[in-house]
Amino acid sequence: MHIPDGFIDLPTSGAFALAAAAGVAISIRGAKSSLDEKTAPLAGLTATFIFAVQMLNFPVAAGTSGHLLGAALAAVLIGPFAATLAITIVLILQALLFADGGLSALGLSIFNMSIIAVWFGYGIFLLVKKIMPKKKVSIGIAAAIAALLSVPAAAAGFVLQYAIGANATFSVSAVLAAMIGTHLLIGIGEALITFFAVGAVLASRSDLVYGYKNQVSQLEIRANK
């Protein structure tokens, strides 16, 4: 869902770039409290892993592929503020080094994937976690459901941008239906990858998982150190 140059006009792209910059600035402040000597390298590894898995396009419906977005995965592993930063770094490097996503559209893409997908995904994660039994496997399931829905949420962000400032004149409702439908399918792949990745970290170092340790008592975290 890396937006190329030209889809959305420059004024709209500029406005979303400002909104994205504000979100990133807030996230830098917010991430400070969740990042320390122990979690900063995990946050770096999360960004690295997401970059790698974003290269792995899997086939979805006829003639379409999708790849991990990683927003819900990152939010659960390192918290939503650090996740916004991780996805943003990946998107900037992809645009600058690999010509993946237009430079003028970078703010649009960051807004959709680093902000909407991360925060919407994290909200869903918290909701699902709340109604699930307090077990480790619930974390993986909540993360997977968050992942599934975070992808169409990011797609909806694009449709909003299209509605405001598209350079084309095709109907917004057609774009909405196609974008949500396709990205729900991609969301299934997103959910599977997120479930297994969160599960792998929970199995080896559950103390590092932001979305898990928040429900374990502070005392237990101290004892683990």
């Binding site: 830098i28 991430a31 122990k38 970059f51 999708g66």
Partner: protein
């Protein structure tokens, strides 16, 4: 598992995915591209300003072997993302013992 072991395993897994598995990735258009093509607004896309870059489209310019080209681009991307993101996260982290 020790934190160091965990981080190194994760990094090696990322190198393997981007350096080796990426060759087998689907080259079909992604969701947005497909929708843009089906509906028609793909026409408004402009050529990427970095499309002449050495690593554009996840390949190393001048390397003919596709497997090598995409694999090397993936490894470079993993190393760059790892170094830059870990560096930035360390810069903004809570300093030990320091006031907030």
């Amino acid at each position: 598992m020790k934190q160091k072991t965990f981080l190194i395993s994760g990094f090696i897994a990322s190198l393997f995915l981007a350096g080796v598995v990426s060759f087998y990735a689907s080259s079909n258009p992604d969701g947005l591209e497909k929708v843009a093509g089906d509906i028609g607004f793909i026409e408004t896309a402009k050529e990427n300003t970095n499309s002449d870059g050495v690593l554009a489209d996840y390949g190393v310019k001048g390397v003919e072997n596709e497997r090598l080209s995409v694999g090397a681009a993936g490894v470079i991307g993993v190393v760059a993302t790892g170094a830059i993101s870990t560096g930035l996260f360390f810069l903004i982290r809570r300093k030990p013992g320091g006031a907030k």
